[in-house]
Subunit: 316 residues, 2 copies
């Protein structure tokens, strides 16, 4: 189960009624932040999400409307007794830019690990020190898998997909057949091999059928390129930029490397997602909901995002 | 005449109800910004002050709550067809920090001139290209004179005083006595020596008594050191930090190198200012106005600042 909060639904310039691009994922009390536009820490206070337990920050790209909240947030976290390390994931150049943004805050009381342009999937485990990021290894069990895709924007830009794994079913019949002691059931179900009373017990001695987890994907800022549908395929929730509501703005969308609501809805449809949440509205788009029909004509399960929108996604 | 807008009255961490340290001075349609905490550009939009005509940005110091709005503001100005150069004034290290903050915005369509630690007064003239900053030269006339003072904070910090000069009175008797042609009166009153019909006319041929201008001073973040009263002496308006309202917070104020309302009021009194505007309230100070009496007991003309406070100062 995980809980998302759309902290900011604006793109480009900030306006008084809309914070800039930012989304918070809460997983078992620990947090992943995607993008951090100016004012993100204020949005967190306004929406009472907390900020001390953010372990991972995923940046789509290095344009100001997606990152200028970072120095303020990290400084505030430092002033709030945060001690556990934070991992920042982003495009090439992220390390240099973060270093620049933090130039006036020479000391942070926690480590910053920066992963640039991960071309392999990353795995996350929730341990005592918060969410830990490692290279994905399919022979091991992981709680969340993060994968990325190169998007098509005016600067290098990454899309993100998060897959929250669900443990396979526990098979009582197999456990009884192999006489597995009750006290090691949980460890085996977590795919651990256990030595107990001098006997070796394998996970397969208790595991039943695989069960699908939860997938959410985050696509901004980009044109609707052909690699996106496979990447977002089957997502329970696609969070997708819809910079322009009016279909007439298609030329602007092409020029500025963004999408219209209609184009985002087409991706959602071809990608066979369950629901799409539109966000990253142009500052000139005063009331995005009046263009909702442009998306709904293509894809019915469209939500027009707003600052403070929340949703809980659970295992089926 | 000039018009000020308090954009943000908060210090330390931003809170949803208060923007961070920032003040805008409007002089003949051109603007001087003092400090630029995160969210300053949003405050400008909310208060409809405009931002394209900011020519000078004075930074008190390089703590995040005074500067993290800078990259967003400068980027937005660049995206808004701003072309005239901007001068940033600050402590030593300002150039390095601004460069770092702008690392992700490699191109701005205007020049940035940075003046670090000016130990002499600076002079400002309003010309076609906006407010121009030069070294102060007492033999020339200037519209605004900026002077700075070293404050006592946990990092190097500058206080600012702005003196808006008023032209001396025009003396009709002298103009008649020296037979000064009417068409050159204005240039002479502006302290220009004029050659007209092969004769040299000096400003003293039309100038009467000197008239006092307008002085405003800006003091944050600091302890109330003994050099401040002379620096702020006679200000029409002192904008002064009052991080803590409760007199009981004096030990916190000493430790964190800030002031209580009472200490700020004592400065205002000894500095013989006309009025003091308190600002830079701690994020823990929910309702600053309930501590107003702590300042008023010392100095009656105290204003408790709030985001959006405006005041027009005119020549007497």
């Amino acid at each position: 189960m995980l809980h998302i909060t759309l902290l900011g639904s604006g793109g480009g310039m900030p306006i008084p009624t809309r914070f800039l691009s930012s989304l918070l994922i809460n997983y078992q009390g620990r947090k992943i932040l995607i993008d951090c536009g100016e004012g993100t820490q204020v949005a967190m206070r306004k929406m009472n999400t907390g900020f001390k337990s953010i372990d991972i920050i995923c940046l789509t790209h290095l344009h100001g409307d997606h990152i200028f909240g970072l120095p303020g947030l990290l400084t505030t976290m430092g002033n709030s007794e945060r001690r556990e390390p934070i991992t920042i994931i982003g495009t090439e150049g992220t390390s240099e830019v973060v270093k620049g943004l933090m130039r006036s805050t020479p000391y942070l009381p926690f480590d910053l690990a920066i992963i640039e342009n991960p071309n392999k999937a990353l795995a996350i485990m929730n341990s005592a020190g918060g969410l830990q990021v490692k290279e994905y290894d399919k022979s091991q069990s992981h709680e969340i898998i993060i994968s990325t895709i190169e998007l098509e924007h005016s600067s290098p830009c990454l899309g993100y997909a998060f897959h929250i794994a669900r443990k396979p079913k526990f098979c009582m019949e197999k456990a009884a057949l192999y006489k597995v002691p009750k006290e090691i059931w949980r460890r085996l179900q977590n795919k651990e091999t256990v030595i107990h009373d001098d006997k070796i017990y394998e996970p397969d001695m208790v595991l039943g059928e695989e069960r699908s987890g939860i997938k959410i994907s985050f696509i901004t800022d980009t044109r609707p390129i052909e690699t996106i549908p496979a990447f977002i395929m089957g997502s329970d929730l696609l969070i997708c930029e819809g910079t322009y509501g009016d279909n007439e703005d298609i030329e602007k969308a092409k020029k500025n490397k963004h999408m219209t609501f209609k184009e985002a809805a087409e991706l959602a449809k071809v990608g066979n997602v369950k629901e799409v949440l539109l966000t990253h509205f142009s500052s000139a788009l005063d009331k995005p909901e009046i263009y909702k029909y442009n998306a709904e004509e293509i894809f019915n399960k469209t939500i027009i995002g707003y600052d403070g929108f929340t949703k809980t996604l659970s295992f089926k």
